[in-house]
């Protein structure tokens, strides 16, 4: 796939690291046989702590067979996914009105950074190797979250199969998914977990032809077409290995992991009426190598991690009407991270610390961006304590950023101290039912594109500041065979110096400016219900989100007080599940309300609401350690013509079949404290 020498080198490094860690693991395995009498089951942390999280386990998110992480997250409360086209389409995340660049993706405890565009395409994150997804970043224990994520508005954390200790000695997973419009996904994963070490690998290939029919309503008639230039091929290779051991009263754990993904896709863009000659392509190759060490005693925990990420992007427009007759832009982002976390339990409370240093640089074949380099230092100190049923968390986050750009002028250094505070009261003995009040102030820096990109960049940009205030309730109850879980949240967020693009030289030349002031308030609810009736299990889960994100920039502006573009006031998602012996039946309902394509809320900018219904059924069987699950279903069963972003048309009714096979040989002793 890649003819880029830099990435060939990266692949070699990855393979070398995997080989090294497997070899290291084999040595440890030899040692383990002589130390099997050691007992690691000592430190089990079950404490009441301040948190504001939604967690989704693999067994839950596989129910609806989502295409990718973006497709999954659109089911959650408070989240809007800006979806540019289903399978392979870019998906960016907005959480409670905070845009994509206020939200940080964390993979295996380390931030995925891209200083060029500052955001993550959640359509590129495959679910095949993901064990759990966690949304939110207020947590009383700073150990697992890097400083660069704590200082952000919100986080999405994922942990992967091949990078964590398993519960079985040998585990194998195979998955195949075929769907309408030429979708074929194949993945497999293997992991070996011994008492003291593990080693795992995941491989995935996805191909999609993408020529789906769509209809656009025009007057009394519909124009029916087929989506063109929408094919893609993607690969994923991920590997991990880890060791754990104990000296006296200290436990240690070290993990190595690497991931490489390659996405080669055509870009259909928005549907342009009467002109369907798009032929642009986009190649993205992302690599990551990381190491993570955690040490724990009864009072002190600490973590040290390092990470290298390389992201290559090539945009090709073979019919661009310039002198050369084409446009070929290549960008390479390199990102080095080094950080540490620590937590110290004292009689007067817990003190935590997180620090992280990053160096990020962009190289490109475009001469007009320069070669920007960013040095970042993020530090957080935190104090948490509990009195009876009350828990308090206070934190101060320091952010220091410095840019260099050798060929063009660069932006000023940035230094900020932002406060965070949470107060939570437990309403039940098990700490799962509570009420919490959270405030945090965060900022996001302008990214390299906003600062330096050709005609549009603006080196005078200020950071975008956000204030977040939320009141959260979590309530869990089980009565006989019925269990309930409710998690309502009301919030108010304010964004100052919001960075947007405006025409500043002519209509075709837009510039990036700090102009908007946005107030966001809303409420959302995440719920789960389950009732067991002999052999029949009935469950329902879902979310309801109400959000007002209002432009309060200029009083004389036509859009003053109006809802921001592409922010639906209402969204809701519900999954109903029936399980009877080996059979599962699922119904998923997804509603996205009306929204506007521009900030001015007038009928001409209105984008229609849509309501989607999916059905699927699954058959499960298990023979010894072999588990098989076959699921077939239909998405968009009533063949709605819809789009989230205007004219980025989505597929109509489509079908899928997924086969999952898992095998493991025998259980491994579990060591939660390690």
């Amino acid at each position: 796939m890649s003819d880029n020498p830099v990435h060939s080198v990266f692949l070699l490094r990855l393979l070398f690291l995997c080989s090294f860690t497997n070899f290291f693991g084999a040595i440890a395995y030899g040692q383990q046989k002589t130390n099997h009498h050691q007992d690691y089951d000592t430190i089990v942390v079950k404490e009441k702590r301040v948190q504001n999280l939604q967690k989704i386990e693999r067994k839950d998110f596989l129910k609806t067979v989502p295409h990718d992480l973006g497709h999954l997250l659109q089911q959650r409360a408070g989240i809007h996914i800006h979806d540019y086209g289903g399978v392979g389409g870019m998906k960016t995340l907005s959480f409670r009105g905070l845009g994509a660049q206020h939200n940080q993706l964390i993979v295996n405890g380390q931030s995925i950074q891209n200083a060029q565009n500052g955001q993550t395409d959640f359509g590129l994150i495959h679910l095949d190797n993901i064990e759990s997804v966690q949304i939110g970043n207020i947590d009383g224990d700073l150990l697992e979250i890097p400083a660069s994520a704590i200082v952000m508005g919100n986080t999405v954390q994922i942990n992967t199969f091949e990078s964590s200790f398993g519960h079985q000695t040998h585990e194998f997973r195979g998955q195949s998914n075929v769907g309408s419009f030429g979708q074929v996904d194949v993945s497999s994963a293997y992991k070996m977990t011994k008492d003291r070490y593990f080693s795992g690998v995941t491989l995935k290939r996805r191909s999609f032809e993408g020529a789906y029919p769509f209809a656009i309503r025009m007057g009394n008639e519909s124009m029916e077409k087929v989506r063109k230039n929408n094919a893609l091929t993607e690969y994923l290779l991920a590997a991990g290995s880890g060791l754990r051991w104990r000296n006296d009263r200290t436990t240690h754990q070290i993990k190595f992991f690497g991931q490489y993904s390659d996405s080669d896709k055509e870009l259909p863009g928005a549907v342009i009426l009467y002109n369907s000659n798009n032929n642009q392509t986009l190649l993205q190759q992302n690599g990551q190598l990381g190491v993570n060490y955690i040490g724990k005693t009864t009072d002190i925990k600490w973590r040290i991690f390092g990470n290298y990420q390389n992201q290559f992007l090539r945009y090709h427009d073979p019919s661009f009407l310039n002198q050369a007759g084409y446009l070929l832009n290549e960008y390479q982002n390199d990102n080095w991270q080094l950080g540490g976390n620590g937590a110290w339990e004292t009689p007067i409370g817990k003190f935590s610390f997180a620090g992280e240093f990053r160096k990020q640089f962009l190289s490109t074949n475009r001469a007009d961006i320069g070669a920007p380099i960013r040095y970042s230092n993020d530090y957080v100190i935190q104090y948490t304590n509990a009195w009876k049923n009350w828990q308090l968390r206070t934190a101060a986050a320091t952010q220091i950023y410095s840019d260099e750009n050798r060929s063009i002028s660069h932006t000023e250094d940035v230094f900020r101290i932002n406060p965070q505070i949470s107060l939570q009261k437990s309403l039940a003995a098990d700490a799962s039912t509570f009420i919490g009040l959270h405030y945090k102030q965060t900022m996001r820096l302008p990214n390299f594109n906003e600062l330096y990109y050709s005609q549009i960049g603006n080196t005078a940009l200020l950071p975008e500041d956000a204030h977040q205030l939320s009141l959260e309730l979590a309530w869990h109850k089980k009565v006989n065979q019925t269990s309930f879980s409710l998690q309502p949240n009301i919030y108010f967020n304010q964004i100052q110096n919001k960075i947007i693009a405006l025409p500043t030289q002519n209509l075709f030349v837009w510039s990036i400016m700090n102009v908007e002031n946005v107030h966001v308030y809303g409420a959302d609810l995440q719920y789960e219900l389950a009732h067991q009736m002999e052999k029949l299990l009935i469950s329902a889960s879902g979310s309801l989100t109400y959000q007002r994100a209002l432009d309060y920039t200029m009083q004389n502006s036509p859009s003053f007080g109006h809802q921001l573009a592409y922010t639906p006031m209402w969204t809701t998602n519900h999954t109903i599940h029936l399980n009877y012996q080996k059979l599962d039946f699922y119904t998923q309902l997804h509603y996205v309300g009306q929204r506007y394509s521009l900030n001015q809320n007038v009928p001409a900018n209105l984008v229609a609401a849509y309501f989607l219904t999916d059905f699927s059924m699954a058959y499960n069987t298990k023979v010894n350690q072999h588990q098989l699950r076959l699921q077939v279903g239909v998405r968009n069963a009533f063949d709605q013509s819809y789009n989230f972003i205007r004219f980025f048309v989505m597929p109509g009714r489509n079908y899928f079949a997924q086969l999952n096979y898992t095998w493991h040989n025998k259980n491994t002793k579990q060591h939660e404290g390690l």
């Binding site: 002109n275 000659n277 019919s319 002198q323 405006l502 500043t504 001409a604």
Partner: protein
């Protein structure tokens, strides 16, 4: 299960009932189109929201989308130019890469001319006419010659990079080559095409990034050289048609148009950085400003075009920062504001129907 069904049904009804209803559009006028303005709106790229609208000057009733109403389909994406020739209206739609030809009296489509060549969109930009031929610049570096009877492309003439404005002076066509897609390496030429020979006969250097162009009988050719929007300022250039020598008339001018008063031209300026707008009247003979600051920023937010209405009024297109519904403001020649109408997104061309 009945209870569950009812709950879902109620939730669904609640959500559906939250949808806002669109405002009903006034009925499209029937019969003769007179005493009004035909307004072309560019819309925004990738939103397919170009509109052809009608403003009735008797009642000041506004009809947003007469193209769709009359033709049961959308106009397309990023309409750049509009002109009347004979009994037809020609609409140049850049991103959709089409020329829409309408009957001037019914507003119904006569033809949609796809501007594609070898499977590639040509992106047409501006249109001019001469002796039953339409000439259309397209971003692929050509002037397309369209026969106004058969409504088909009869010839393609290779010109400079990303040609934009074009104007006919006597039997010559002047084409401004912007080279805008090669930023910062702009083109800086105006080509002269002999329309009898259909060949380029001269190349005139006017400075970086030429855009709008206007030819006035017996006066010559005026070109807006836009520069680089920074160190190289925009200028109004006069081209002598006899020898193609050039002369800088004014600096800091971003638009030019025929005024309703003899011997005067509109020249206008909008500074995107400071958001300042100005409209002056230029005396063609003296090349001097005859009436300065006819309108200013107090009157208009984002100036996007000035068009005469008969001899006593002119219309100003206000793009309202390009992301809000535009305004069509009518002034008299003393700069007195007569009316303001909220129109559609990015109005860029107005034709007066007496």
């Amino acid at each position: 299960m009945k209870v569950y069904s009812r709950v879902w049904f109620l939730v669904f009804i609640l959500l559906i009932s939250c949808n806002k209803k669109e405002q009903p559009e006034p009925a499209i006028p029937s019969g003769e189109w007179s005493n009004g303005l035909l307004i072309l709106h560019e819309g925004l790229f990738q939103q397919n929201n170009s509109k052809l609208s009608w403003l009735n000057l008797s009642e000041f009733s506004f009809y947003t989308d007469i193209f769709s109403a009359k033709n049961n389909r959308y106009l397309g994406d990023t309409a750049n130019d509009m002109a009347i020739y004979g009994g037809k209206i020609y609409l140049v739609v850049n991103a959709s890469s089409t020329i829409e030809v309408l009957d001037k009296y019914s507003m119904q489509s006569i033809a949609q001319i796809p501007m594609q060549f070898n499977g590639q969109a040509q992106q047409p930009r501006k249109i001019a006419f001469y002796q039953n031929k339409a000439f259309v610049t397209s971003f692929d570096g050509y002037v397309n010659v369209i026969d106004t009877a058969s409504l088909s492309v009869s010839k393609r003439i290779k010109v400079g990079r990303n040609p934009e404005g074009l104007a006919v002076y006597q039997n010559h066509l002047y084409v401004a080559n912007s080279g805008g897609l090669d930023f910062p390496n702009y083109d800086s030429t105006v080509f002269c095409i002999n329309l009898n020979l259909m060949k380029i006969t001269d190349t005139i250097f006017v400075g970086a990034n030429p855009g709008n162009i206007l030819a006035l009988e017996n006066e010559g050719v005026f070109v807006i050289k836009r520069g680089n929007y920074g160190t190289d300022p925009s200028e109004l250039i006069w081209v002598d048609p006899t020898n193609h020598s050039t002369e800088v008339v004014l600096q800091g001018i971003s638009g030019i148009g025929v005024s309703g008063r003899s011997n005067e031209l509109f020249v206008w300026y909008f500074d995107h950085g400071t958001q300042q707008s100005m409209v002056h009247l230029l005396n063609i003979d003296t090349r001097q400003i005859a009436h300065a600051n006819l309108i200013t920023s107090a009157d208009v937010k984002t100036l996007y075009g000035v068009f005469p209405i008969a001899d006593d009024r002119f219309a100003v297109c206000d793009a309202q920062q390009f992301v809000n519904l535009g305004k069509l403001i009518i002034f008299d020649y003393h700069g007195q504001k007569l009316s303001t109408t909220t129109v559609a997104l990015n109005p860029n061309k107005v034709i007066y129907f007496p």
